[in-house]
């Protein structure tokens, strides 16, 4: 379970990036946060990973307070970023093995590595290829493999589907669903409304650091998400409206 309580981040004393965010992601649930660029999605994830200290409020994974016990908390968190380059000179297997060991695994057999790599849909010939020859989709799959390998309670994904081709995107969502089946709490930020609609159990709309609206599964099906989202975003971006 992932939870934020009054989580707030103020940059340079006046730029409010995230404002008193309260949300909970249950185990076996996919929570998608939607928002324009600069809405505070990445800041939230950064705070959940203790990359930056929250100005006030706190976040928990399970019952561990992340800002207080970051190292302990990180054992239960996995992360997939928007565009991970990984170690270019390493093969997929080497990258995966390295991160598995960072996650606390003592010994990782090649069979296990290969199984995970296969699971995310990487072709066998790619296992021993250097990552610098990978396409974006392949790198993203490898990123997921790293998250899977860690077997963490919560998985954080920062715009993971941007730049993926349709097939890659679909495969990616399938992988997410599998993780959900395994009972992970999945927190994903995106601005891709359609994929969000497809996969999300709940959706939060983040506008200028405020969580403006939370939609449940039923609401997602019922309402016209697209329109809703654009309304929220448009309300705060009058200039763009005017220019069109």
């Amino acid at each position: 379970m992932l939870e934020t309580r009054e989580l707030t981040k103020v940059y340079n004393e006046n730029v409010l990036a995230v404002n008193k965010l309260n949300l909970t992601v249950e185990d076996g649930e996919i929570y998608v946060v939607l928002g324009a660029n600069g809405a505070g999605k990445s800041t939230t994830i950064s705070m959940l990973l203790n990359f930056i200290e929250p100005t006030s409020g706190t976040a928990l994974v399970g019952d561990i307070e992340i800002p207080k016990f970051p190292l302990e908390a990180k054992k239960h968190l996995a992360y997939v970023s928007e565009n991970v380059e990984l170690y270019r000179n390493f093969t997929a297997r080497q990258n995966l093995s390295f991160f598995a060991k960072l996650g606390g695994r003592k010994k990782v057999s090649n069979a296990e590595l290969d199984e995970t790599l296969g699971r995310v849909g990487l072709a066998e010939e790619a296992f021993t290829r250097r990552v610098k020859t990978f396409s974006k989709g392949m790198r993203q799959r490898l990123g997921i493999a790293i998250a899977i390998m860690k077997d963490a309670q919560a998985v954080l994904l920062d715009e993971p589907t941007s730049g993926l081709d349709p097939k890659g995107g679909a495969d990616f969502l399938n992988l997410l669903r599998q993780l959900k089946e395994e009972g992970k709490a999945i927190f994903m930020s995106t601005h891709d409304i359609f994929r969000a609609k497809e996969v999300a159990d709940r959706i939060g709309i983040l506008v200028q650091g405020n969580l403006e609206r939370e939609l449940t599964r039923e609401e997602i099906q019922r309402e016209n998400l697209e329109e809703l989202y654009l309304n929220y975003v448009a309300g705060y971006e009058p200039e763009e409206e005017a220019s069109e």
Partner: protein, 503 residues
């Protein structure tokens, strides 16, 4: 955990192009230059041996004690291959005579050397390290943080329960391991070449000194790696970090050491220090001259000719003269007499002359010792102190510290060269004692070889041993410590920046 991090970093470094290029270029330069340097050393050694033989022969051929010139030669230091320092440029031929106390400023150079060749900068292995090691360290470091910030791997790593301190330590250790490989490999190769060479003999002390040089090199390497890390952590962008690193390198290695001495106010000892010391010395010699003349006027022999009107075959200088050089505070007296036969009426004068020369010998020795007491501290103030002050300015850059420390290890610093002159002065005392023992000053052979020539075979032999490696170590310690401190400070600063930084 740390092991995992280190292993990844190591693998990552080892697979890069820069590692291969670094190793290749180091080996190439060091091996090629070792050949050249060994050659150069052998040539200098040959020239040294030639000189010893020439001096020995010339001495044997001299028939009188007063005309004999005992000269000692400073052997080239085999470790000058590592850091040539002052080994090549300062005088390597000293006259050991009773008329003055020799110092570095009175030394000459072997006749066969070509002074024009000094125009070309001389190269040594430490210079290669100074330039290349620092460059390599920066090339290894510039993307250590910046690259991971950019590619996002740092974020990914930090999502795992890893302490930032561990990441820093892992990066440091693995990069240092990678950098030490070309360093040690090239040094080993050059050592192999050294030991193969027939003309170079290295003893245990030398190997200890080389060990000291290796250690210092590693510490130096580490400073530049840490500077690179600092830049990388602060700029967070590889292209910026790279550019900044290169300029910092250019400044520290290329510009600062050459520019700083031109920029700072010149350290010169006041002119009065020179003149007052010189006046004092001159006065002492004038006093000596007065006493000498007094002796000539009051002894049993009529007339005041310093040569007692000896006439015969051979040569003598007509006057007994005093000579000085106010720049080096050098002062001596000269009166040469070298006969190989006398006309008959001279014989009764000879006992007087012998008595006089016996008196003159001890008087000159006393005066020379007395003036040395004035001259030694004056030389120290005029030449050594300003040079030391300039050296301190150079040591503000790690390059200067490294250069100074390795010079000290190799024994090619000014102090190391001066050790030889201490030995030469010690030897002068032995020679004088020997002269007293055989009554050379009062002997007929002092000025004439008509009844038996001077016998040089029992003259004490000159022996010179470089100081022990422990002395080198003690002398190098302050600089090595400063290098260490710089390392620690840099490391702490990087740690604080990295721990506080947001990813």
């Amino acid at each position: 955990m740390l092991i995992t991090l280190i292993r990844r970093e190591l693998l990552n470094n080892l697979m890069t192009f820069r590692f291969a290029a670094a190793t290749f270029i180091m080996l190439l330069l060091v091996v090629a230059n070792t050949f050249v340097l060994i050659n150069d050393y052998e040539r200098r050694l040959e020239s040294h041996n030639d000189s010893i033989n020439i001096h020995k022969r010339q001495l044997q051929e001299t028939k009188t004690y007063s005309a004999g010139e005992v000269r000692v030669d400073r052997p080239p230091n085999p470790l000058s291959i590592f850091n040539v320092g002052y080994d090549k440029q300062l005088g390597n031929e000293v006259r050991v005579t009773h008329i003055y106390v020799p110092s570095l400023w009175d030394a000459g150079m072997h006749g066969s050397s070509n002074p024009f060749m000094d125009m070309f900068a001389s190269m040594d292995i430490i210079f290669i390290f100074e330039v290349i090691l620092s460059l390599l360290a920066l090339i290894f470091a510039y993307d250590a943080f910046a690259g991971e910030y950019e590619s996002g791997t740092l974020r990914l790593v930090l999502t795992h329960p890893v302490r930032r301190g561990n990441i820093l330590v892992a990066k440091y250790i693995s990069a240092m391991l990678c950098l030490i490989v070309p360093l040690v490999m090239s040094l080993l190769l050059s050592l192999i070449l050294l030991t193969i060479s027939t003309s170079i003999f290295l003893n245990t002390d030398d190997f200890l000194r080389i060990g000291g040089i290796i250690l210092t090199s590693i510490v130096y390497l580490s400073i530049f790696y840490l500077i690179g890390l600092l830049i990388s952590a602060v700029t967070r962008r590889t292209s910026t970090a790279l550019m900044l690193s290169m300029f910092v390198w250019g400044f520290l290695v290329l510009v600062y050491p050459n520019m700083i001495l031109a920029v700072i106010p010149q350290h010169e000892a006041p002119q009065e220090r020179k003149t007052s010391a010189y006046d004092k010395i001159e006065q002492m010699w004038q006093e000596f001259d007065k006493d000498r003349k007094h002796y000539l006027a009051t002894d049993d022999f009529p007339g005041e000719d310093w040569g007692y009107e000896l006439r015969g075959w051979g040569s003598r200088s007509s006057n007994f003269i005093l000579l000085g050089n106010p720049h080096t505070l050098f002062y001596k007296c000269r009166g040469m007499m070298n006969f190989h036969g006398f006309v008959e009426e001279v014989e009764p004068k000879i006992p007087h002359a012998r008595k006089h020369f016996r008196y003159l010998g001890s008087k000159i020795i006393d005066t020379a010792e007395k003036t040395w007491i004035v001259r030694k501290p004056a030389l120290e103030d005029i030449y050594i102190q300003p040079a030391n002050k300039e050296r301190i300015w150079l040591k503000l850059s790690p390059v200067g510290l490294y250069d100074a420390a390795t010079k000290t290890w190799a024994g090619t610093d000014v102090q190391g060269v001066r050790d030889f002159f201490d030995a030469a002065r010690q030897y002068r005392k032995q020679v004088i004692d020997y002269f007293y023992d055989i009554d050379a000053f009062g002997s007929r052979q002092w000025f004439s070889s008509d009844k038996g020539a001077a016998d040089w075979s029992d003259l004490p032999q000159f022996r010179y041993q470089r100081v022990g490696s422990n002395t080198n170590a003690i002398r190098a310690l302050p600089d090595v410590c400063l290098l260490f401190m710089t390392n620690i400070i840099l490391f702490v600063v990087i740690f604080l920046i990295f721990v506080k930084s947001e990813v």
